[in-house]
């Protein structure tokens, strides 16, 4: 019982921290960053349903995200109200998810990945090229955020943050319920032993199809939060790169876990938006280190080189994304959080083993 309560305490503490964020973050930039992390966390959780629990790697989910955002933005632009726009966005995304699912679930593994890639590129192509409908490269602007229950989300970033946080908590609770439900268990079953599930009388295709719809629903929620946050949407959010980014969030945090995608979203979004801050901090630290280790004259030269290199990297989000991707896949295929724990354990065990060896050098193994 004691152990059982600890995670809830940690969860409550985390929630309190998030709820208090507008007070301690101060700067509205960071509040907006936190909103983005939360909405992309919902997106990553949605993808994790398929990637983590279903074993179906999709590189077309940004297309679904974009269907939701574009539908809402275009409805609003056409003069409909917020309720109609939101309803239409969810419906359109569910329809698109159903079409995705029917086509992509003809295959699993690499085949599934490629069909979703092609479907995502079709949606991107429509957003990018069908300018009469989607505004093409210029994207779509929307005028204002909705006013739920008479609360204006327009002025302070913190109000929008709270709205996002509320939706995020609901999404997390839904994912937790899904994970424990018989449906979640049967989806994991189709991932690990599809044939046995069929033999046991489960309809594997239907389970995967419903999981796809569940994933699509939360994609549409994330897309809506995105378009209301930015008040703007452009083809960029639909592309292969966007799909790869959200996949990186899921994989980096750890698939088939509840908090992995959230941690992944926090990592990817904060690196993406504050790469320059991190690079500056690293420049200061490395320059000081170089001065200290190499002396003032050589150290200053090295510091200049370091500064130049980090400046060059600071604007290179794609480069960093690629390096993080490759590093995680090669070194920690199970995800950043479990991977770091594993590497730490191995290292400390080796350290302990070497110490034991020093104390008893004559001991026979």
């Amino acid at each position: 019982m004691k152990i059982g309560l600890a995670p809830y305490g940690a969860l409550g503490l985390a929630f309190l921290t998030l709820a208090m964020l507008p007070w301690w973050a101060g700067n509205s930039y960071y509040i907006d960053l936190a909103s983005q992390i939360l909405l992309f966390a919902i997106f990553a959780l949605a993808l994790n349903v398929l990637v983590g629990y279903g074993g179906l790697v999709s590189i077309g989910h940004a297309g679904l995200f974009a269907v939701s955002g574009y539908t809402a933005a275009l409805m609003l632009q056409a003069g409909y109200g917020h309720a109609a726009a939101v309803g239409a966005a969810v419906l359109a995304t569910l329809t698109a998810s159903a079409v995705f699912a029917v086509l992509a679930l003809r295959a699993t593994g690499i085949g599934f990945l490629m069909i979703t890639l092609a479907l995502g590129q079709i949606l991107w192509g429509i957003a990018y090229r069908w300018a009469a409908l989607t505004g093409g490269d210029n994207g779509v602007n929307i005028a204002a955020r909705p006013v739920p229950f008479g609360i204006s989300l327009a002025d302070a970033p913190s109000f929008y943050y709270y709205a996002t946080l509320a939706v995020f908590v609901v999404a997390l609770a839904a994912m937790a319920a899904f994970e424990r439900s018989p449906f979640g268990a049967s989806l994991r079953g189709t991932r690990d032993q599809a044939r046995r599930m069929t033999a046991l009388g489960y309809n594997v295709w239907l389970i995967r199809f419903l999981a796809f719809l569940f994933s699509g629903f939360w994609c549409s929620v994330a897309g809506l939060l995105y378009v209301y946050n930015k008040l703007f949407i452009s083809p960029q959010v639909a592309g292969l790169q966007a799909s790869a980014e959200v996949l990186l969030m899921v994989i980096s945090g750890g698939t088939a876990t509840l908090l992995g995608p959230v941690a992944g979203a926090a990592l990817v979004i904060s690196v993406k938006y504050s790469l320059n801050v991190a690079a500056e901090a690293l420049t200061v630290v490395l320059s000081a280190l170089a001065m200290y280790l190499l002396g003032p004259s050589l150290g200053a030269d090295v510091a200049i080189v370091v500064k130049g290199a980090l400046n060059a990297v600071a604007t290179r989000w794609n480069l960093v994304l690629g390096v993080v991707f490759v590093t995680i896949i090669i070194l920690m295929p199970e995800g950043l959080v479990p991977g770091s724990i594993r590497l730490w354990r191995t290292a400390s065990q080796r350290l302990a083993a070497s110490r034991v060896g020093k104390i008893r050098p004559g001991a026979q193994p």
Partner: protein, 323 residues
């Protein structure tokens, strides 16, 4: 001769010639992709990056005299007149279009072999991880290219002997585009001879058909992986240089070409060179006519056949049944 397709083609002769030339280029790009996919069972998502990086290598070599300055070549200052003459001669050779294309292909073969040997090899058997690795590497390559070659497009001129056009009656064909088709045909023939008539080709075919059994009979499939990956990278780079006078080289070229290679190979069937050839020309027409006639839906026209084939005939139009 009243069939509507023939009418469409004769009414748009320029577009038809462009489509055929583009199809030839696509074949150069996709042949290696198809072999890699067939043998290693993964779509190499950095194949577009190989194409772009190869094209950048090519334009750099072609522009070397302009970068270094012809008259005041630096080697002259160090090695005197003989050195200068030697340097100028070397430079003239390196900046020859065909030498640049081959050198770029050779460099990319080394890079491809390195990536296969040191990165993909570590994930042997884990196909999804391998695909994601190639995706990550494609991001790295595209950003490095943007860093080194900036955002400006580079468009080398076609080699001097192939500038101009051929006249046939009232019709005019750009010579270089015809040459690209000829190159594609030559490469297709060479690959066909290699795959169907040589010992190496027999080993590749065995690996494509059944890698575990190929291992059992003593073929070192892992060495084949490296070789085929290097060959595919080299072909992509060669295609990049050959395509540069037509397409020019710009950031995002990788993202434009990769889906095309993917579609070609899905249509043709993985590991099948005749399939890649047929798929290339089919896509050459769909791409050019789609862009010209239905610009709004150009990408839908491109990707829809791929989705349909994946769903209805997963082994590809020309692939072997079963698999």
């Amino acid at each position: 001769m009243n069939h509507w397709i023939i009418q469409l083609l004769t009414a748009n002769l320029t577009l038809t010639v462009n489509s055929i030339a583009f199809g030839g280029l696509l074949f150069l790009l996709s042949a290696g992709f198809s072999l890699i996919f067939g043998l290693m069972r993964i779509p190499n998502l950095m194949h577009g990056s190989f194409f772009m990086l190869g094209a950048y290598f090519g334009v750099t070599l072609l522009n070397l005299p302009a970068f270094l300055g012809d008259g005041d070549f630096r080697l002259g200052a160090y090695f005197g007149e003989t050195g200068r003459a030697l340097g100028a001669a070397l430079l003239a050779i390196a900046s020859n279009f065909w030498v640049a294309a081959l050198a770029s292909a050779a460099a990319m073969a080394l890079i491809g072999a390195g990536i296969e040997r040191f990165l993909l090899r570590r994930l042997a058997g884990e196909h999804l991880a391998q695909v994601l690795l190639t995706l990550g590497l494609s991001f790295i390559i595209s950003d490095l290219c943007l860093m080194i070659w900036t955002g400006d497009p580079w468009q080398p001129t076609a080699p001097a002997e192939l500038r101009g056009a051929v006249r046939a009656g009232t019709m005019i064909f750009p010579l270089y585009r015809l040459a690209v088709v000829a190159i594609a045909v030559v490469v297709a023939a060479a690959l066909w001879v290699m795959v169907d008539w040589t010992r190496l080709g027999a080993m590749i075919r065995a690996g494509v058909d059944d890698a575990p059994i190929a291992r059992v009979v003593g073929i070192r499939v892992s060495r084949l992986f490296t070789l085929v990956f290097a060959l595919g990278a080299a072909l992509a780079a060669f295609a990049g240089v050959v395509g540069a006078p037509i397409l020019s080289v710009y950031p995002g070229l990788d993202g434009d070409m990769l889906p095309l290679a993917l579609i070609v190979v899905i249509l043709g069937g993985t590991g099948s060179l005749p399939g890649a050839l047929a798929g290339s020309f089919l896509m050459g027409f769909l791409y050019n006519f789609g862009q010209a006639k239905f610009p709004d839906l150009a990408y839908v026209i491109l990707f829809l056949p791929m989705v349909l084939v994946l769903v209805l005939r997963p082994q590809g139009l020309f692939g072997k049944g079963g698999s």
